[in-house]
Symmetry: C2
Subunit: 250 residues, 2 copies
């Protein structure tokens, strides 16, 4: 009789389906409450499960680690982004696709502001959680880079261009997210992201009339930045780099 539980009444009811998500949620809520009240390090898994009335072993069946309870279903989120990239229109500008994906990521934070803000507070205080978040952000960046690398596959310096572009988009996303978090979720994050992507020199908006063909490009003005004293190779590279921003040329 392993029912030697000091906790008398517990709904040991069979959780075939919906019960699992309820319990998972209950564990997460209890954990975050404790983390906020007595600190992350001072909170043991024992403390968490005690409040929910469940065994310590069960906790690790719902979360791989104590840290994961702070970033639940992060894998699913990442998988969603991967899927979004994979099913993206092959004709669309890769830059635009990635920017959309960044917007999707931002959306996951905006969808539940109170949780995001609470997590932000936690990650600010606990270094191990901060590190964990850095790692998950890097996962997104990797996924972006992989997608872009495929798009650029035939061009020169595909790998470098993909890495740099992914880094730029992610850095911009993080900048906006940070501002949103620091504002307590007040500012218009979507608008800020659009503006920031624009400021960062990334083409996000679809050109007004054209759909990516080369026919309308006569209206475009190409401007680059270089010195007349620069070597010819540099000039070539810079112009190539500039041309990449136009759809249909990548």
């Amino acid at each position: 009789m392993p029912e030697g539980n000091s906790n008398g009444s517990r709904s040991r009811a069979g959780r075939t389906e919906g019960g699992r998500r309820r319990l998972r949620s209950a564990l997460a809520v209890a954990a975050l409450d404790l983390f906020a009240s007595k600190g992350y390090d001072a909170t043991t898994v024992e403390d968490i499960v005690e409040g929910v009335g469940v065994g310590r072993r069960t906790f690790f069946r719902y979360f791989r680690s104590k840290e994961e309870v702070v970033f639940p279903d992060h894998d699913e989120r990442l998988a969603e982004v991967v899927e979004e990239l994979e099913r993206s229109d092959a004709d669309a500008s890769p830059m635009r696709v990635v920017c959309r994906a960044a917007e999707t990521v931002l959306e996951t934070y905006l969808a539940e502001p109170e949780i995001s803000l609470k997590r932000f507070e936690l990650t600010r205080q606990v270094s191990s959680l901060r590190d964990r978040e850095i790692v998950s952000i890097d996962r997104y960046q990797r996924v972006f880079a992989r997608y872009l690398r495929r798009c650029y596959a035939d061009g020169p310096n595909a790998d470098l261009r993909a890495s740099v572009t992914a880094a730029t988009v992610v850095a911009t996303h993080n900048h906006v997210l940070r501002r949103w978090l620091k504002s307590g979720g007040e500012i218009d994050a979507h608008g800020a992201l659009r503006a920031a992507l624009d400021d960062a020199g990334i083409v996000d908006r679809e050109p007004s009339g054209a759909s990516g063909g080369a026919g309308e490009s006569e209206n475009d003005v190409v401007i680059g930045v270089l010195r007349t004293s620069a070597p010819a190779e540099t000039v070539r590279r810079r112009i190539e780099s500039a041309l990449r921003e136009f759809p249909g040329s990548g």
Copy 2:
């Protein structure tokens, strides 16, 4: 008599100064050897200290954790970069300073190729070590961004520009480092970094004659990239962004 050590003869010699570094090095070597031979996870701290003939407790006096033995004196390296940025010429182009710093970081890898390559092999196999490296790379990026933020302090969008530039430089550095590691340390990493920074559209080279003054800028040609259908605000931003690349205008 807690000298109940099964290990009979051990040089319990007094290590006042040089002995510390020797022991630290011996521990690191023993650890890396074991990691390579029987795997990181399968190697316990007990195993490591056993070969060196030292107590388990002592290991943690030399390394804060089992992971740190793979990335020794990473904090010092970071501190060196911070110092390099702080004592940089205030008149120099911030972009150039950061690129130099990235070169310094690359140099720390090139200085001891066999260790870097061994560590690369380890981080490829062990996810926790990979995560750890991602975090330390992010530390550099943060330091770069902080420096650039100060330089851009008076300009518009200083924070965003600093973050994006830092991300770009770091991504470029990582790209080159990765290629160097994958080549087994064969390729010319320095040259590759210069070329990559150039490809990524970053101004690294000092202009041939001028020293950053405005007097010589008549020789410069300003070229940007935008669409004629873009709103006026976008045009203004893009031109501003282009002008930033010239020394004396940031």
